[in-house]
Amino acid sequence: MTWPPAKDGGRSLPSIGNIFGAPATVLYLLFIGFPVLALLIRAAGQDGFLSSLSSDVALTALKLSLGTSIISMAVVLLIGTPFAYLLAKNTSIFLRALDSLVELPIVLPPVVAGVAMLMAFGRNGLLGPPLAELGVSLPFTSIAVVFAQVFVAAPFYIRSAKVGFQSVATEYEDISQTLGVSPWRTFWQLTVPLASPSILTGFALAWARALSEFGATIMFAGNFMGKTQTMPLAIMTAMETSLDTALALSVLLLCVSIVLLAGVGLLARRHWQERL
C-alpha cells in the first residue's frame, strides 16, 4: 500500500460494499420477493386459476385498465414533456417554487387526491355546476378514472423527464441552433434523444403508477364493472367475495407491470448505450 492511494484506490470500497451490501441485498430481495413468490404459488396452486384469468371480470378490468392508462399516459406525455422541459431550463424563482410542488401528488395520500377532485369536479364541486350546464358530469365515468390516473402518475414522469432535460447541456442546444437547426428540430433530434433514458424511465414509472391507482379512483370514479372498475378495484372487489379471483387478478396485474417495466427498461438501456 502506498500513500496517497492511487486514483483507483477506490477499489477497496467494493469489498466494504460486499460485506454490508450482500446481506442487505439478500434481505431486501427476500422481503420483496417472498410475498410476490407467495402470491404466485398460491395463485398457481388453485384449480380455477386459468378460468379466473379469462373470466369476464378479469378481462373487462384489464381492458379498462389498459385503455384508461394509455389515454392517461398520452395526456401525461403531452402536458408533462413541455412542462418538464421548462422546469429543466428555466431558473426563475417562480419555477423553482413550482418545482417543489410538482411532487405534491406523490406525497398526497391518493384518497385525499380523490376527495380533492370531487371538491373540484364533482357535482357539488367548484366546477360542478358550470360543467353540468354543458351536460358534463365527470364522477363515476371512465374520464374520472383518467383524471385520477393523470393526477397521481404525472409527477413521476415530469420529475424524471426534468432530470433528463437537465442532463442535456444547454450549450449543445445553442450550438445546434447556431448551426442553423431550428429550435423545434433541435428539441426532437438532439434534446429528446439525449434525455430519452430518463424520459423512458419516468414514463414506465408513471404508467405503472397509473395502472395501480386505487385510492383516488374509488373516491372520484367509484367502482363499476366496465366503466370505472380498473384492475386494482377489481382485485379489491374480488377480495371481498372470492380469494381465488383476487389472486388471479393480482397475478395478471403483476405480470402486466413487470412486462411494462422490463420493456421500458430494455428500451432505456439501449438508448443509454447509443448515447455512450
Partner: protein
C-alpha cells in the same frame, strides 16, 4: 432548499395521515392485556363508539378498540389472521361464514336489527329532485350508489327490490333490474354509500334506517320510506372469536350489548331490538313473523 420544502411537506402530510382516527382504529391490531378489540360492521360506526365507552365504564381496566368495515371484509381479515376478540356482523350470512371458518367460539348472539330506507341529497343540490318516490329509482338516467352484492346492505337491498317487484305494489316487471342497472357505483360498505349521497354525487341510495336518521348524514339527506311488507330486517350478531386474547372481556362485551343499558343506546341511534325469532333465513320481512 427544494428538498427541505419537499420533506417538510411530506412529513406534515404523513403526520396528518397517522393522526387520523381511522388510522388509529383500524391499522393497529396488536393487543395489550386489557384491550378488547372489536371488529364491527360499518353500519355500527356511529353507535359503537358510545357503546364502547359505556362498556369501558362498566368494566374498569378494559379499553375497547374498534375496527369498522363491511362485515364481509372484517370476516376476510379475520380469516387471514387478523386478531380480535369480538366479531359483530350486520347479517347472518357473514356470521355463519365466520362460524363455518372456525373463527368463532360459542353461539353468535343477535342483539339488534335495522331496516332499509332510500336516501336522496337534501333539497336544492344537484340531483336532489330526481328521485321523489321509489318508482323514480328505476327511471332512465338516475344515478344510484349501491353496495356490492357481497356486502350485507347490498344483499338486503337486492332482496328488498325483489320484494317490491313481486309484492302487491305498483312496480313494473323488471323494476328490480332497472334499479340495479342505474347503479353508478358499487361500494364495499354502507358508509361509502351514504357518503356518495351526502356529497351529492348520486341521486339516491339504499342504506340502513340508522344511517339516515342519526349522526352526520341525518342533516344532509332526505329519506323515502320503503313499505313495511317489502322492507327487510337486518340482523346484527355478535360473537366471541376463538383466538380472542381477552376471552373474558369478549364474553362480557357480548352480554353487555344485549343488556338494557346498551339496548337503550342502540335504540337512541335508531336500531330496533333483535327479532325474537331468528331461525328463518338471513333476513325476514318486517311485519311478517
Amino acid at each position: 432548499m427544494d428538498n427541505i420544502i419537499r420533506w417538510g411537506l411530506a412529513s406534515l402530510l404523513m403526520i396528518a395521515g397517522c393522526a387520523s382516527p381511522s388510522a388509529r382504529n383500524a391499522e393497529n391490531f396488536d393487543q395489550g392485556a386489557d384491550e378488547l378489540v372489536v371488529f364491527a360492521a360499518a353500519s355500527l360506526a356511529e353507535v359503537f363508539p358510545e357503546l364502547a365507552t359505556a362498556f369501558e365504564k362498566a368494566s374498569p381496566g378494559v379499553s375497547v378498540r374498534l375496527n369498522f368495515a363491511g362485515s364481509q371484509r372484517l370476516r376476510t381479515q379475520l380469516e387471514f389472521g387478523a386478531t380480535g376478540d369480538v366479531f359483530v356482523s350486520a347479517d347472518r350470512r357473514q356470521m355463519s361464514l365466520a362460524v363455518d371458518a372456525g373463527l368463532v367460539s360459542g353461539d353468535p348472539a343477535p342483539f339488534a336489527s335495522n331496516s332499509l330506507v332510500v336516501i336522496t341529497p337534501i333539497a336544492g343540490g344537484p340531483g336532489s329532485e330526481k328521485v321523489q318516490v321509489l318508482n323514480d329509482l328505476a327511471s332512465p338516467g338516475v344515478k344510484l350508489a349501491l353496495a356490492l352484492p357481497g356486502v350485507p346492505v347490498g344483499v338486503y337491498t337486492r332482496e328488498m327490490l325483489g320484494n317490491l317487484e313481486s309484492g302487491a305494489y305498483d312496480f313494473d316487471e323488471g323494476y328490480s333490474q332497472k334499479v340495479l342497472d342505474n347503479a353508478a357505483t358499487l361500494e364495499t360498505n354502507v358508509r361509502s354509500v351514504v357518503q356518495k349521497v351526502v356529497l351529492g354525487e348520486v341521486d339516491a341510495a339504499v342504506v340502513y334506517m340508522t344511517n339516515a336518521t342519526t349522526g352526520y348524514a341525518a342533516a344532509n339527506v332526505r329519506t323515502i320510506p320503503i313499505p313495511k311488507g317489502a322492507n327487510v330486517a337486518a340482523e346484527y350478531y355478535a360473537a366471541a372469536l376463538k383466538d380472542a386474547g381477552n376471552p373474558q372481556a369478549a364474553g362480557a362485551f357480548i352480554q353487555f350489548v344485549q343488556a338494557e343499558a346498551a339496548q337503550a343506546i342502540l335504540a337512541r341511534h335508531g336500531f330496533e331490538p333483535a327479532p325474537a325469532n331468528t331461525g328463518s333465513g338471513p333476513a325476514r320481512r318486517v311485519g311478517q313473523p
